[in-house]
Subunit: 307 residues, 2 copies
C-alpha cells in the first residue's frame, strides 16, 4: 500500500483513534502517526503500548507539522481543540474528525480554522461497546462505511485523498451533506441508542424484578440492548445534545408507532401485530445481504463464552 499522508495527528486516543492508528500502520498509510490525549493516564498507556510513533502532551504539538489532523474527541470537546490547534495549522493542512454528528461539529470547528486549511468532516460507522486506547484494532473499519462530508471543501483532490485513506483503512466510503448525515444517523444510530439506554434503565429501576433476575434472564432478548447501552456516556451525551432536532423528530415517530402497537395489544388486534412483525423481519435479511451483519444465529455469539 502507498503512503497517503506524511504525518497524521490523532487528537484524542479512544476506540476510533486507536483503531485508526492500527489500521494506518497495517497498510503503511502515513510516514508518521502521532497522537495526543487529554488525560495523562491515556497518554502513558498509549506510549507504553507503542500505539503511535509519538505521543505529545499538547494537541498543538501533535497538530503542528501534520498534513492531516483528525479530531477524535467527543463532539462537545471539538471546539476547544480547534481553538487550541488553529494557530499552528499551515495552509494546505487537512483537518477532519470522526464525530457522530456533523452539523454541530462544522459549526463548532470551522469558524476557528485559518484560511487555507481544508476542513473535511468524516464519520466512520464502526464501533464496539468498548472505549479507550486499548480497545482499538486494525480490522474495526473493514467492510464498514465511512461517511465523508465535503460541504466546506471544494478542492476535490483534498477530499479524494481523505477518502483514499478511509478506503485503505478498510472502509467503504460515501459522501453526503451534513444535515442529511445527521438525519440518517438519527434513524440508524442515535434513536436506537437512546431507546436501548431507556430500556436498560427501566429494567434497572424495577424493584420487583430484582437486578439479579433481569441479568439471569437477559438472554431472552434484553441482552441485545445492553451492548449499545454500554457505550461511552460522554460521547453519547454529546451526540444527543448536538443532534437534538433530528433525534427528537425520529423519537416522535417512534413513540407514535409504539402507541399504535400498544393499542393493538390492548385491543387484541392480532392481525395488525402479525403484519407488522412480518414486515420488520425482511429488513434483517436485507442487512445480512448487504454484508452489514452476520447471518449466524445470535450474531454468531460464541456459545462457550456465554456459558
Amino acid at each position: 500500500m502507498t503512503q497517503i499522508y506524511n504525518r497524521i495527528a490523532l487528537i484524542g486516543l479512544g476506540l476510533i483513534a486507536s483503531s485508526m492508528a492500527h489500521a494506518i500502520k497495517r497498510a503503511g498509510l502515513a510516514g508518521e502517526v502521532v497522537g495526543y490525549a487529554r488525560s495523562n493516564e491515556t497518554r502513558t498507556i498509549a506510549r507504553d503500548m507503542g500505539l503511535c510513533d509519538r505521543i505529545y502532551d499538547t494537541a498543538a504539538e501533535a497538530a503542528e507539522g501534520s498534513d492531516l489532523v483528525v479530531l477524535c474527541v467527543p463532539v462537545g470537546a471539538m471546539e476547544s481543540v480547534a481553538i487550541e490547534i488553529a494557530p499552528v495549522l499551515k495552509a494546505g493542512t487537512t483537518v477532519s474528525d470522526v464525530g457522530s454528528v456533523k452539523r454541530a461539529v462544522i459549526d463548532a470547528v470551522a469558524p476557528h480554522l485559518p484560511a487555507g486549511v481544508h476542513f473535511v468532516p468524516a464519520h466512520p460507522l464502526a464501533g464496539t461497546e468498548h472505549s479507550g486506547p486499548t480497545s482499538g484494532f486494525a480490522e474495526l473499519f473493514d467492510g464498514r462505511w465511512c461517511i465523508v462530508v465535503p460541504d466546506l471543501c471544494d478542492d476535490e483532490a483534498v477530499v479524494k485523498k481523505l477518502e483514499d485513506l478511509w478506503r485503505a483503512m478498510g472502509s467503504n466510503v460515501d459522501t453526503m451533506d451534513a444535515d442529511h448525515h445527521d438525519l440518517v444517523l438519527a434513524v440508524t444510530s442515535h434513536t436506537p441508542h437512546l431507546i436501548a439506554y431507556t430500556m436498560v434503565g427501566v429494567a434497572d429501576d424495577l424493584g420487583r424484578v430484582t437486578d439479579s433476575e433481569v441479568i439471569k434472564y437477559s438472554a431472552a432478548g434484553f441482552r441485545d440492548f445492553t451492548r449499545i447501552a454500554a457505550s461511552d456516556p460522554t460521547m453519547w451525551r454529546d451526540v444527543f445534545l448536538n443532534n437534538k432536532d433530528a433525534t427528537l423528530e425520529i423519537l416522535g415517530r417512534f413513540t407514535e408507532e409504539l402507541f399504535v402497537l400498544q393499542r393493538a395489544i390492548r385491543e387484541g388486534n392480532g392481525a395488525h401485530l402479525h403484519d407488522y412483525f412480518t414486515r420488520t423481519r425482511s429488513i434483517r435479511r436485507s442487512i445480512i445481504e448487504a454484508g452489514q451483519d452476520t447471518a449466524a444465529p445470535n450474531f454468531g455469539r460464541v456459545q462457550s463464552d456465554t456459558k
Copy 2:
C-alpha cells in the same frame, strides 16, 4: 447420561422442539423421541432429516404412550392441541410446554387435561432469530436458564424429573410462579422485542431516509435491533396477546422514562443524560459476569462474515 423418560413427544417442531430433539439425543435422555407438526411440509422435512425417532401425522398419536408430552406450539395454539391430546393421556403422564407466557398457557391447557395427568409448564430462555425444524441445534440450551412453573403440581418427584431433563439438556433451572414469570419476561424479553419491532418499523417507514441508507448504515447501532425483530411473527403476536397486562405495564414505564430523557435532550440537560448512560453501562458488565453474554466486542461477530 441416564435415560430420564421412556418416550418424549414433541408437539410442534420449530426452533425449540428441534433443539430439544438434538439435546435429548446428544445425552441419551429418552428411550424414544417422537414428534408432530401441523404442517405436512414440516413433517416431511423432519422425517427427511431424521429429527425424531418417529414423526406422526396427528398430535394425539404422538402423545399416546408418551410419559412426557411437550407442547412446543405458539401460545395461541396451545388450547386446541390440549383438547386434541387429552383423550389419549393416561394417568401419570407429564404434560409440559415451552411457551413464552405462563398464566395464559395454564388457563388454556389445564382445564382440558384429565385427572391424574401432571401439568408442569416450563420456559427455556433460549432462542435465535431463526425458526423451523432445521434451525435447532443441541447446544441452544447450554448455560441458558429454563424456568419451571410448578404451580399446578404438588408431586415433587414429577417436577424434579422435568428439571432433571432440562439440566441434562444443558440448562440451568429455576422455578417461579406463573404471574411472576410473566412480569419478569415482560421486562427481559417481551417489551424489548416490541421496542425492537417498533424501531425497525419506523426505520422502514421513513421515506426520506431510503431503505438502502438504513441498511447500509445499520452497523451504527440499528442492526442490533433487527435480530430480535426478525423473530417468528406468529409466536410473538401470541406472546403480546397473552401477556397483555404485564407488557402494557412495562411499556408504560418505558415511555415515561423515554419522555424524561427526551425532555433532557430538548432542554440540553447533559448532566442527566450522562448520569443515566453511566448507570446503564454497569448492567452490561453484570450480564457478562453472570455468563449470559460474551465480552467480545460486537457480540463477537465474525468480522469476515460481515464484510
